[in-house]
């Protein structure tokens, strides 16, 4: 194991890691917004929009991110729309993440018993008040496990960004292997980088999940 090599190239990995995290963060936030919107549309079964979001969800869940990125990065320019690698990465991530988040939130909304809504209405609360004080708090806590899984999933998906020329962790690793043949060192640093990013997140979410568990909803 060439320790000097590792020391020399650690900064490169850190920079790539930061890039990965930055794009992941933007992508996750975007996915949450898209997801919330879609889940509410599907929960309240708003006509027309419901079909459109349904189609969107099926398309994005049944196709790989790589193809979505290739289409955005290599395909769109042929139709006159040129996007930077970073923009493609973010758009692709939100396109994919939005549908996953939507399903997570929708299962949360549907897990809240309709009798809870009726109990709220019977107290004389307006529909808006019932959604705000009774429905959403419960829906959110039910969604947490799926939400956590999605966050981790999206961060893992960022590993394909190197395919659209983004200098992320995979790009750096592949470069170093190709240029210096220091495969073991490059791979080791790669694995450690992802462990550093994902292990803490995974642990924090397990902790939150355990805290938020109440036995039984509605009764």
């Amino acid at each position: 194991m060439d320790i000097e090599f590792i020391q020399k190239y650690t900064p490169l990995y850190i920079e790539a890691g930061e890039l990965t995290l930055r794009i992941a963060l933007i992508g996750i936030v975007g996915s949450i917004i898209v997801g919330l919107l879609c889940s509410l549309i599907r929960y309240y079964q708003i006509p027309i929009l419901r079909r459109i979001t349904g189609l969107y969800i099926e398309l994005s869940r049944n196709t790989p991110l790589l193809i979505q990125l290739f289409f955005l990065y290599f395909g769109l320019p042929k139709a006159g729309i040129v996007l930077s690698s970073e923009t493609c990465a973010i758009v692709g991530l939100i396109f994919l993440g939005g549908s996953y988040m939507s399903e997570a939130f929708r299962s949360g909304l549907e897990a809240v018993n309709s009798s809870q809504i009726e109990a709220g209405l019977s107290l004389g609360l307006t529909r808006y008040q019932v959604v705000r004080y009774v429905l959403l708090p419960q829906a959110i806590s039910v969604s947490v496990p799926a939400f956590a899984a999605n966050v981790i999933f999206l961060i893992k998906e960022t590993s394909v960004f190197s395919a659209v020329a983004l200098a992320d962790l995979m790009y750096v690793a592949k470069d170093l292997i190709g240029l210096y043949y220091q495969t073991n060192e490059a791979l080791l640093m790669l694995v450690i980088a992802y462990l550093i990013i994902l292990l803490p997140i995974s642990i924090v979410f397990s902790f939150i999940e355990r805290k938020l568990r109440y036995a039984g909803f509605g009764n």
Binding site: E58, L66, F71, P77, A79, S159
Partner: protein
Amino acid sequence: MQDLGISVLFQGKNFIRLLEGLWITVRISLISVAISILLGIILGMIMTSKNPIIKAITKAYLEFVRIMPQLVLLFLVYFGVTKAFGIHLSGELSAIIVFSVWGTAEMGDLVRGALESIPKHQYESGKAIGLTKLQIFGYIIIPQTVRRLVPLAINLVTRMIKTTSLIALIGVVEVVKVGQQIIEASRLSVPSAALWIYGVIFFLYFIVCYPISLLAAKLEKAWKD
């Protein structure tokens, strides 16, 4: 100009090559899932053991495979194994190994969960009507476990099919790589090929994965306890 673009699909054997590439994708996924189910059932049973060492090892294995992006695992096997043991693994074999390791971990966890969630009184009722341990396992436990597993296994197939797109990045000639080759070859004759080829590949994945997800959803609903 747009007409010119879509014509690339009908040139030569382009479309056939795409379908052949798609078949490679599906084949890799199916082989990997088959291996995963077999090894996963064994792993799942092992994981129900109370032995702390076994629990620690299996848990570490599970967490590692869960946390590492599949592409990283592919790199580890494709580049790392070659360097470490001197054998050169083909991209396709690397993919099957990685997917099987991934699939086994997931299936193993599912099997363990299914086995542990079967209420104790199922075992007890079996004993109460005089069945042997093996019979209880065969007639009561396994059928219920299978019901929970199959929809999830089918779901795993779709995820693997999508993930095989990554192996284009380690040079395997599957559908994405074929697409890239076609685009490269048509660079002069059909400059807008990229738009159409990737668009078509997008839908090819959809056409393959969507019916499978529908099947999984149907089965899950039909077999709901």
